[in-house]
């Protein structure tokens, strides 16, 4: 089944993923189809599982200062920095609307 263009655009905007071309969207469709097979299982009365870790013990750490003080190392990754601050654009740059950019829909 088709993934509606509006849903595609919504996903691209939320996850900042570019499905790029027909192949990308085909893979998405496959992934959704694969996940939907879960619906075939009767889960009535079964507690949902959060993660494979859910029976593990959550380790609690002592409230000691053991990390930090590595400003230089952290800033090594920054494309731009000013006096030990990371530099970012003034705000979120909104993704252009569907009509304004080239997505697979327009390419095909």
């Amino acid at each position: 089944e088709q993934v509606p263009a509006a849903v595609l655009e919504h996903l691209e905007r939320l996850a900042l993923v570019d499905f790029g071309d027909t192949e990308g969207v085909r893979r998405l469709r496959e992934a959704v189809r694969f996940a939907e097979r879960l619906r075939e299982v009767d889960t009535d009365g079964v507690e949902p599982m959060d993660s494979v870790l859910e029976d593990r013990c959550l380790y609690l750490r002592e409230d000691d200062v053991t990390e930090g003080n590595c400003t230089k190392e952290l800033l090594k990754n920054a494309r731009e920095k000013i006096e030990e601050y990371f530099v970012a654009p003034p705000g979120n740059i909104p993704l252009p609307k569907l009509e304004e950019r080239e997505t697979f829909e327009q390419q095909s």
Binding site: R61, D63, E67, G68, L74, L75, P94
Partner: protein
């Protein structure tokens, strides 16, 4: 004229008072060189994992118990996704599905008609308390069209306290927040200083006609003090009523409070409603808390948070402290409020009581009228008072023993305030303020005054 019912709810973020962050071992400290209190996990570098700080869990449990909440013995962590430069991971770890505490309440008091003499008690329901990460700080440089990001605050533990919309105006919201602030400070779970961003309040405001469903609500942010909270809420209520009475509509939006202009301004996001794509945090198993009954026999006690153990060690909450002050010293309820409202004032008062023969009901007058007004006039905290509780006790003893009059005592107090290191007795002798006891001496003085006046009368009739 149609009546409007304003409805106010609050979302309060309190920074947890801990040495290190919620999920990492970097230090929690206000004002440090940028990006110096940041670990690899805080900066969201690949290959790092969250490790929960036990102290933060205890702080949340203490707060939940103090607010009469049910503590969830099993609570879960989730990811809340959104993009912003001060959120390096692209998501915040929070507790959206099952938070650590739910269904509590907070009682607070208000003065009716601004008169301290009439106080009324109100209650607001606490919907929940959840543990979550704080984000970093963005410094906007509009001139150069850029944002500077400091991640020192990223990952600091927060308790989000959600108060149901049981309040109806700015005064109630302010009083509720003030009481929460005192509770948090008493528990030590947060220092809750609004000016340092340790307590942040967002208000949800709507209005409706009685009997009708609730109106559309707006969220008001950027409130930096309890005083501004009251102003912001009251402004927003008035704005909404005006808008609706003029036939307009209220948009479900976020508005920022501008303290200089005293109004709220729309922060409408061009990107529309946020979809946070909540998902369970896959790296953290459920948080399990224990009590005396469920405590496992052979578990490492460092790995155990025991709700009953914490409950037994809760300090006296402000409401209990006030009741004790009233009962012990016979002071009025409104006096107890003022005593607890100023940091250190109750302790000062009790120390004076300890060292003076004067009755508490008289001492309280000196504390609230004289000491407090001098402190306010000079914008001083109790701990910086030039008049210590011992000095004041000495002074009150002189007064109590009738060695000086009360007007003389006021003079001595004024002199003590200068902080020149003199004792009350020294000042009394210096200024000759001792009350005269000797009958004969008094008669001599009176006669001299009368004689002088007779001379003046004489001058009068001639001229």
């Amino acid at each position: 004229l149609a009546t409007w019912v304003p409805v106010v709810g609050l979302e309060i973020h309190a920074q947890i008072n801990s040495n290190s962050k919620l999920f990492s071992g970097s230090q929690v400290q206000f004002a440090a060189p940028p990006n110096s209190l940041v670990s690899f996990f805080d900066a969201s570098l690949p290959g790092t994992l969250p490790v929960l700080n036990r102290r933060c869990v205890e702080a949340a449990v203490m707060t939940g118990l103090a607010l009469n909440c049910s503590i969830n013995k099993k609570s879960l962590f989730d990811r809340k996704h959104y993009f912003y430069a001060d959120l390096p991971a692209g998501y915040q770890i929070t507790q959206q599905r099952v938070p650590i505490a739910v269904n509590g309440n907070l009682s607070y008091s208000l003065c009716i008609d601004n008169k301290m003499s009439q106080m009324v008690t109100k209650t607001v329901r606490i919907k929940q308390i959840q543990l979550e990460q704080d984000s970093g700080k963005s410094l906007h440089d509009d001139a150069r069209s850029q944002t500077l990001v400091d991640l020192n605050r990223a990952g600091v533990g927060l308790m989000e306290v959600v108060m149901e919309p049981d309040m109806c105006c700015g005064e109630e919201a302010a009083a509720a927040v003030r009481e929460l602030q005192l509770i948090l400070q008493t528990l030590g779970s947060s220092q809750a200083i609004m000016a340092e961003g340790q307590l942040r309040v967002d208000a949800n405001v709507s209005v409706h006609h009685p009997g009708e469903p609730y109106g559309v609500r707006t969220e008001v942010k950027n409130i930096n003090s309890v005083r501004f909270l009251a102003k912001a809420v009251d402004y927003e209520i008035r704005r909404q009523i005006e808008e609706l009475e003029n036939g307009g509509t209220i948009l479900n939006e976020t508005r920022a409070f501008d303290s200089k202009l005293g109004c709220t301004i729309s922060m409408r996001d061009k990107e529309g409603k946020q979809d946070y794509r909540f998902m369970p945090e896959p790296n953290l198993p459920p948080l399990i808390l224990y009590d005396a009954k469920s405590l496992p026999a052979n578990m490492n006690h460092q790995q155990v948070v025991n709700i009953d153990w914490i409950r037994e060690r809760l300090p006296d909450l402000p409401s209990v402290k006030r009741a004790k002050l009233v009962e012990l010293y016979g002071i009025l309820p409104e006096h107890s409020f003022t005593l607890l409202n100023e940091d250190g004032l109750a302790e000062y008062f009790e120390n004076v009581i300890k060292h003076t023969q004067m009755k508490p009901k008289k001492v309280i007058g000196w504390i609230l009228n004289d000491l407090l007004s001098y402190l306010k006039e000079h914008a001083l905290a109790v701990k910086d008072s030039p008049v210590s509780s011992f000095l004041l006790a000495d002074l009150l003893n002189l007064l109590e023993r009738r060695e000086i009059s009360s007007s003389a005592a006021k003079q001595v107090f004024e002199e003590l305030w200068k902080g020149e290191g003199k004792t009350p007795l020294e000042i009394v002798k210096e200024k000759q303020l001792e009350l005269l006891r000797d009958q004969e001496e008094l008669e001599q003085i009176c006669q001299a005054v009368i004689d002088r006046q007779e001379d003046e009368v004489g001058v009068g009739t001639f001229g």
